[in-house]
């Protein structure tokens, strides 16, 4: 089987997989990074969102081979040791999840949104930007609150660096 070399959460990894293998299956089955979920498997729900070279993408719609040589960040790679990423902390503090299935994708998409918009986020923009992430529990209200809260926290933590 072909070997795919890529960087996952800062670590160089090498996996032997069939050419038809999707990135999400490399993460979950070869690397046991099961935080990234498969919800719909049709590129719509966003539970599988990870960052590839800094951009939010649906890992169920990317072949492992396409990610060769890329820098991939998953939900497991964003906390700083025991300290949650500000987006994770904001989801916890604002009750931004119920069953939690969509949450890893929501958080990865939301970090990408804040990275792209910086402090210029408002509720309408967050709702529009989250249209590729589906949640069947929360009604989105607390997710949007979480993202707006985190946008403020991320701005503060970036300013402190």
């Amino acid at each position: 089987m072909p070997t795919v070399d890529l960087t996952i959460n800062g670590k160089a990894v090498s996996v032997d997989v069939e050419d038809r293998t999707l990135l999400v299956h490399v993460l979950r089955e070869n690397l046991n990074l099961t935080g990234t979920h498969v919800g719909c498997d049709t590129s719509q729900c966003g539970a599988c969102v990870v960052h590839v070279d800094g951009r939010a993408v649906k890992s169920c719609t990317m072949l492992a081979g396409q990610a060769a040589g890329c820098d991939v960040t998953t939900i497991e790679g964003i906390a700083n040791g025991d300290e949650l990423h500000p987006m994770q902390a904001a989801f916890r503090d604002n009750h931004g999840l119920q069953c939690g299935y969509c949450t890893p994708g929501m958080i990865m998409s939301s970090i990408d949104i804040v990275n792209r918009y910086g402090g210029k986020l408002d509720e309408t923009t967050v709702r529009h930007e989250l249209e590729g992430n589906i949640c069947r529990c929360t009604g989105y209200h607390n997710i949007v609150k979480s993202v707006l809260d985190a946008a403020g926290r991320m701005k503060v933590s970036q300013a402190a660096e």
Binding site: P2, D19, R20, L22, S43, G46, V57, Q66, E131
Partner: protein, 264 residues
Amino acid sequence: MYETTYHRASSVDEAATMFTKGSESKYLAGGHTLIPVMKQRLASPSDIIDLGRIKELIGIEASGDAVTVKAATTHCDVATSKTVQTAIPALAYLASLIGDPAVRHRGTIGGSLANNDPAADYPAAVLAMGATIKTNKRSIAADDFFEGLFATALEEGEIITAVSFPVPAKAGYAKFPHPASRFALVGVFVAKTKSGEVRVAVTGASQSGVLRVTAVESALQADWSAAALDDVAISDDGLFNDLHGSSDYRAHLIKVMAQRALAG
């Protein structure tokens, strides 16, 4: 997904050579149609030739009266390009409406055009602005490129390398998206070229794919305003009539979206 062999091409020439070696090769750009279709086992290419990393296929250039978008440029890069936003804001706006942010990070203009989904956004812009599709073999005028549902003038193994849009005097786009898929139920691109010709293209509505609407074009040729369309009758002949919307509903939407495109 059936078994396949993945190849990453580093140049257009290499990709074209790789293509000829497979028994049933397919090009892969962003993969946001091909991979879902392969997962459903509706496509089973023997070989996949990845065009997504070919440097000569990525980027946006403005020169004189045209904006050229290279084929593997993502929707996100078109939507956020200062060059596109300045020269053809309606094109940047159209790109910002495709799919969702994660889809826009991967999907490409060349992939969208080669696939020619009848509900895709880009074909409306390409046809309305009279863009030129450049391939590794030739240049194809928009009027000659689209040949119905999922069909184009591309020959076997031919690769779109860029799309050149003449900068219009005026242009606008409005889409009524399907709420789940974000594909156009009806999308209308209105454009007036610098020589004064009005061209209007509709996506999402027709069983023969993207098409021009002459009734709207002649009304706008006389008067470039939303009010000029108030009394224009749009035929529902040949429009989709399915669970997402009846053909007369889509005909009505063509007029409403054209008016919104003019207002935007």
